[in-house]
């Protein structure tokens, strides 16, 4: 069983690692093993707007979407977890609906709808779409954190004379901070990796990194994609290693 598991792990990891040697290649097309090694495509990535602009766009959009998601999700999670009211399950369905609807359907919907209000091909348009699409994942993480919060801490603070705001900012928020950060990270990554909606509504004005990669793969011409992939994989490896060493084992599975 262990052998089978290790073989599957090899199947999972090999394709991800193969992009690293590809990025140092001298070949002008997708050739492996590379005929020679150079830093040519790194230089190209870091000096041309062709790739830097989508990278910057993606970062701006992901940060904007994350902010929007958090602005929507944090109050909603408090309201949802701490109160009982009629229509709660309907509200839950509404909050989770962006996760249920296939992305290509959402993409088509945004293409039609945002086109009407002239927001296709703009960065605010993509931020709005990505911000909404990340709501369910962030909500799951943050409402779970909130459910595990011990209300007695607040009661203790208030019985010691702290007012509601003081209690919130000095007791509630610090305890919830790790969960909030994970929720925000999920929102950021869900936007940063999102391709389908970005393809439909990005237009020429808001080309994101996944969209640029998609086009580059489709034309099968631009080896700079190997550099981008290597940088992305490095970031993921760094993040995963940090969280494994910090023993955040439970948290890694939170996305599924």
């Amino acid at each position: 069983m262990t052998l089978a598991a290790l073989l599957v792990a090899l199947f999972l990891v090999t394709p991800i690692l193969i992009v690293v040697p590809m990025s140092f290649s001298t070949a002008i097309s997708f050739q492996f093993p590379p005929p020679g090694y150079s830093l040519r495509y790194y230089a190209q990535y870091f000096t041309s707007d062709e790739w830097l602009e989508p990278t910057l766009n993606s970062l701006i959009i992901a940060v904007g979407a994350m902010a929007l998601t958090m602005l929507l999700v944090v109050p909603a999670a408090f309201g949802y977890v701490r109160y009982r009211f009629r229509g709660k399950s309907l509200l839950n369905f509404l909050i989770m609906s962006p996760l249920i609807v296939p992305h290509v359907v959402s993409a088509l919907a945004y293409y039609g709808f945002l086109g009407r209000v002239r927001l296709t091909g703009t960065i605010p348009g993509v931020i709005a779409a990505h911000g909404v699409l990340a709501v369910p994942v962030a909500f799951l993480v943050i409402s779970a954190t909130l459910k595990g919060f011990d209300r007695n801490l607040e009661r203790a603070a208030m019985s010691s004379g702290a007012g509601p705001f003081r209690t919130f900012f000095h007791v509630t928020l610090p305890v919830l901070r790790p969960g909030m950060l994970v929720g925000a990270l999920f929102a950021f990554l869900s936007s940063f990796n999102e391709a389908v909606v970005a393809l439909f509504i990005g237009g020429r004005g808001a080309v994101t990194l996944p969209r640029k990669m998609y086009e580059s793969i489709r034309l099968e011409s631009d080896p700079v994609i190997a550099v981008v992939s290597t940088l992305l994989v490095s970031a993921v490896v760094l993040g995963v290693l940090i969280s494994v060493f910090m023993r955040g084992r439970g948290r890694l599975g939170g996305g599924a």
Binding site: Y83, L108, I217, S229, L252
Partner: protein, 292 residues
């Protein structure tokens, strides 16, 4: 937690206020997100539904075409079958990994967890690109064929094989994490009890571990199947137009033909298929379990 204190009281966010202001506070907290979700999600989706029935004029003709024209029924059937195959492959490949991850408590389990998390977080496009390199005409598989003197490699890229392989590779971590989440809650004492009662390891696995892991199997399969139904990027980049999936059809109708009405109808069919799958799951298992 002191359950006696916190269960029925339902305190508001911070202050211990009672009465009508309680529901007003809840309303204030929930209204902005509900409003935004309705405006920026429900309305756009409803607009698709509307277009599918009214563009260019009010009729059910688009739906009739989706379900009667052979080209389109083949797309529906192909999407369904491909999703089933990918789900099956993910299950077969993923189960041993999740099993070893929970049963061992050493470097193997840490290594597997690291690899799974890594591939979970690496974007679809990076992995799709990697398969394009591996299976391409100048890739390692073709090179190996040449080196072994087997002659020219068969055409691997832009086939049913390559898109199925790519989708399986991308969705496998989802399956593994769903299985892992359920399996790690299985008490190892159950297996020890089975062993002490004389069950051989195989029997203990079959009679005890496997049945207890079934909720994970159901969750993972649902997750993979539903994602696969709407899969877009990978089938387009690795597959062939001959075995088109639903999302490719939507894209083609919009990008090449600007056929809004028909594309919307296909999108509604995809949405309905997804909804139906989830409704069946909800009926027998309960959707809360999936978010759980």
């Amino acid at each position: 937690m002191a359950r006696g204190l916190s269960a029925p009281v339902a305190l508001p966010a911070v202050a211990a206020v009672r009465g009508p202001s309680r529901s007003r506070a809840a309303w204030l907290l929930l209204a902005p997100s509900s409003l935004v979700l309705v405006l920026l999600f429900v309305v756009p989706i409803a607009y698709v539904l509307l277009l599918s029935l009214t563009d260019p004029r009010l009729s059910l003709a688009h739906y009739q075409r989706v379900f009667t024209v052979p080209v389109y029924t083949r797309v529906l059937l192909n999407t369904f079958l491909t999703s089933l195959i990918v789900t099956g492959l993910c299950l077969v490949l993923g189960y041993p990994v999740a099993y070893v991850m929970v049963r061992r408590n050493d470097w193997v389990s840490t290594l597997l967890l690291t690899v799974v998390a890594m591939s979970f977080w690496t974007g679809f496009l990076v992995r799709t690109y990697a398969w394009l390199v591996i299976l391409g005409s100048k890739g390692p598989v073709a090179a190996a064929y040449g080196a072994l003197g087997l002659g020219p490699a068969p055409k691997l890229l832009f086939t049913t094989f390559s898109s199925t392989l790519g989708m399986t590779h991308i969705l496998l971590p989802y399956m593994i994490l769903a299985l892992f989440a359920v399996m790690k809650k299985i008490d190892p004492d159950h297996l020890r009890a089975a062993a002490s009662l004389g069950a051989r390891p195989g029997a203990a696995f079959r009679e005890v571990f496997l049945p207890l892991s079934l909720p994970g199997v159901v969750n993972g399969s649902l997750l993979v199947f539903v994602t696969c139904l709407g899969f877009f990027v990978t089938p387009i980049l690795l597959g062939t137009p001959r075995d088109m999936m639903i999302s490719q059809l939507i894209n083609q109708q919009i990008e090449e033909l600007l056929a809004w009405g028909f594309a919307s109808a296909v999108a509604v069919v995809l949405l309905a298929a997804t909804g139906l799958t989830l409704a069946i799951y909800d009926r027998f298992v309960g959707l809360d379990r999936l978010w759980g």
